[in-house]
């Protein structure tokens, strides 16, 4: 590599009293940090390579390892923080665009944490989910404004196709290519077992996952990778990806080294070529064009699948969402600025878009004002971390949420954010065979199912506390929310009161 001005980011502390030189760390670090010196018969580390993925720490059988932030101080400067200097140095060395994996890590406010939930006391009873039914079933898709019911109680209105979810959560779009086949398999199996859906992302659907098609939303993005008529017909729903929270305004990018045989076949592209999705869909330059694509996809799938349109939460999100609803989409998916990704230009990831909390509120308000909120579903994504975030998202107006990062964390991801390097030590964001097998889908599925099962219990507890026994009654129920540490402008936009009001 030659000389680098970059100081290491992390320090590998090895407790020599514990270390037994077993070399587990050596075999497990994909970044060539640990090595065994035959002469010394001891394990050492090249710290400058460490990305703090925790693989060695977790697998070390003697707990001999701790990874710490490298204790190197820059001279204090509130304008030039360490991260700014490091990024600049890196760019000076490479001359390229800075790349990042996962969502925006900047210390911008997380509004979920400034919203508090309500519970019943005296005037109405809380409901105990252990003793009473508590319903989380959610339907996504277009609904008629009203139903026509005959005097005999028979249904006269035909309802458009819906996605039926056992709880208001789905696994967001992560393509085969950006993540491993084993990771896709975990999502698919867990979705099936949980009675929810996962999204293929823009990488097509691998043959071996066809059997989970009933729990699959197939995505169509600007690159059209892997899109064919079988693909459109097989899933339970179709999603048109216009944008993504981590990188609004630009398309996906899968480097050639990740395009191995199976990925190439699934995406229907030559082996080893970069899979670069154009920034816009070249057949969508306006809202009428979107309408055409929506109906082209509906036509191709015999009007049997709900069609979702996914956009990044940008400044004008409310108006765009309304346009999308009117263009014929059945589901609107909004991805907030903290949404994750396999790879995004750092500057875009960290500076473009708006928080999902505001976007949900703005979109729900706009659709309500136009009297069409009852007809479309709204799915929120981007930084949903736990069950309380889901409850808040639904109370702000979302029908359901997508989780991406949270699902990967359940599988083993430790959020080192180096997905774009293709060497994921946990076997998730990689295509290298010796790494891919680190994710045993059986274990991954169990963990992911555990997570969502735990969340379901928690949501039920929270609902019960509010005196509600169906998630339907939480939708847009902003009375259940109060803000702390928010300006009155922010409270207004969120449509909630301040704590104590």
């Amino acid at each position: 590599m030659g000389f680098s001005m970059l100081a290491p980011e992390y320090r590998v502390d090895r407790d020599k009293d514990r270390c037994i030189d077993c070399k587990v760390c050596v075999t497990q670090c994909p970044y060539d940090v640990h090595y065994f010196d035959e002469e010394e018969e001891k394990v050492f580390a090249r710290e400058e390579n460490c990305v703090n993925c925790h693989r060695c720490v977790v697998l070390c059988p003697t707990r001999a390892l701790i990874i710490r932030k490298y204790p190197l101080e820059f001279r204090e400067n509130s304008a030039w923080k360490d991260i700014d200097i490091r990024q600049l140095q890196k760019q000076a060395e490479t001359g390229g665009i800075l790349l990042s994996g996962m969502g925006n890590p900047k210390p911008l406010p997380v509004f979920w944490d400034k919203i508090l939930l309500n519970a019943s006391q005296v005037t109405n009873p809380s409901i105990d989910p252990l003793r009473e039914p508590m319903e989380l079933k959610t339907f996504l898709g277009r609904k008629p404004e009203r139903l026509e019911i005959g005097c005999d109680g028979s249904l006269k209105t035909k309802i458009s196709p819906q996605l039926e979810l056992s709880a208001p959560v789905m696994f967001s779009a992560m393509s085969f290519g950006s993540i491993s086949l084993n990771a896709c398999r975990v999502l698919a199996e867990a979705a099936e077992q949980l009675g929810i859906y996962y999204n293929t992302g823009e990488g097509g659907l691998h043959q071996s996952l066809f059997k989970f098609a009933d729990h699959t939303v197939v995505q169509v993005a600007s690159g059209r990778f892997g899109v064919n008529s079988e693909y459109l017909k097989i899933g339970a729903g179709i999603e048109i990806k216009i944008g993504q929270g981590a990188k609004p305004g630009i398309g996906g990018h899968l480097p050639g080294e990740k395009v191995r045989e199976e990925v190439a076949a699934t995406r229907m592209i030559p082996l080893g070529t970069d899979a670069i999705s154009p920034a816009p869909h070249h057949d969508i330059y306006s809202i009428e064009d979107l309408r055409q694509l929506i109906f082209a996809l509906k036509e191709a799938s015999d009007y049997e699948k709900p069609v979702s349109v996914k956009i990044a939460a940008v400044h004008n999100v409310a108006a765009i969402a309304s346009g999308i609803a009117r263009a014929g989409a059945d589901i609107i998916t909004i991805d907030g600025f903290r949404g994750g990704t396999g790879a995004a230009p750092t500057r875009i990831r960290d500076n473009v878009g708006i928080p999902i909390e505001f976007a949900i509120s703005a979109v729900d308000n706009r659709l309500k004002e136009e009297g069409i909120r009852n007809q479309v579903s709204v799915v929120a994504a981007g930084s949903i971390r736990n069950s309380a975030d889901i409850v808040k998202a639904v109370a702000l107006g979302a029908d359901a949420v997508y989780i991406g990062t949270a699902a990967l964390l359940a599988m083993g991801c430790h959020l080192c954010r180096k997905c774009y390097m293709g060497k994921c030590s946990w076997g998730i964001a990689t295509q290298q065979p010796h790494l891919v097998k680190r994710l045993n889908p059986e274990i991954g599925r169990e963990r992911l199912v555990n997570l969502i099962t735990g969340w379901k219990h928690e949501i039920k507890e929270i609902l019960g506390g509010m005196g509600i026994n169906a998630i339907d009654s939480l939708r847009g129920n902003r009375h259940m929310l109060r803000g702390v540490d928010l300006s009155s402008r922010e409270l207004d936009i969120l449509g909630i009161k301040a704590a104590g009001e």
């Binding site: 077993c22 075999t27 497990q28 059988p61 065979p433 097998k437 274990i443």
Partner: protein
């Protein structure tokens, strides 16, 4: 009988199975003591084979008709009621006949001075073999799969 099976598609080549096999057969059964304070610690009875991305853990198959038992000149090797092939150390004289006849190469010489063999005993006495319970990726499993 319950046997140990490798699932090579999930073996990550970490060799924790080997490390813990040693711990399981050590005096202290404490990993740090075993490796730091027991110079005469036993050899692992399981070996991880590796070739490129392929790897898997391998140990005695506890064959239905074990050649090693047949060949053993002192009767040190025997098959017990459960079907486990065991070695009576007191009887083993280190002639290595079993090593030459084992079709899988599953029998090792003990480390150091001792002229004895070592082989997997399915960690008899333990609820689950050490290698299986310490594999981080369920790449070896201990289960009943019926007759082979």
């Amino acid at each position: 009988m319950k046997r140990i099976y490798a699932r090579e598609e999930y073996c990550v080549g970490c060799r924790l199975c080997e490390i813990f096999c040693v711990v399981g057969h050590s005096k202290s059964k404490d990993i740090i003591k075993t490796y730091k304070k027991e110079p005469d610690r036993p050899a692992p009875r399981v070996a991880v084979w590796e070739d490129g991305p392929l790897s898997f853990a391998f140990q005695c198959r506890h064959c239905d008709q074990p050649s090693c038992v047949e060949a053993c000149i002192t009767g040190a090797l025997s098959k017990n009621e459960e079907g486990t092939v065991l070695c009576n150390e007191d009887k083993c004289v280190g002639c290595w006949t079993c090593i030459t006849v084992c079709p899988f190469g599953a029998i090792q010489r003990e480390e150091g001075e001792k002229k004895k063999i070592v082989k997997c005993n399915l960690c008899s006495g333990e609820p689950e073999p050490y290698c299986v319970s310490h594999c981080p990726n369920r790449a070896i499993v201990y289960e009943e799969r019926g007759v082979e």
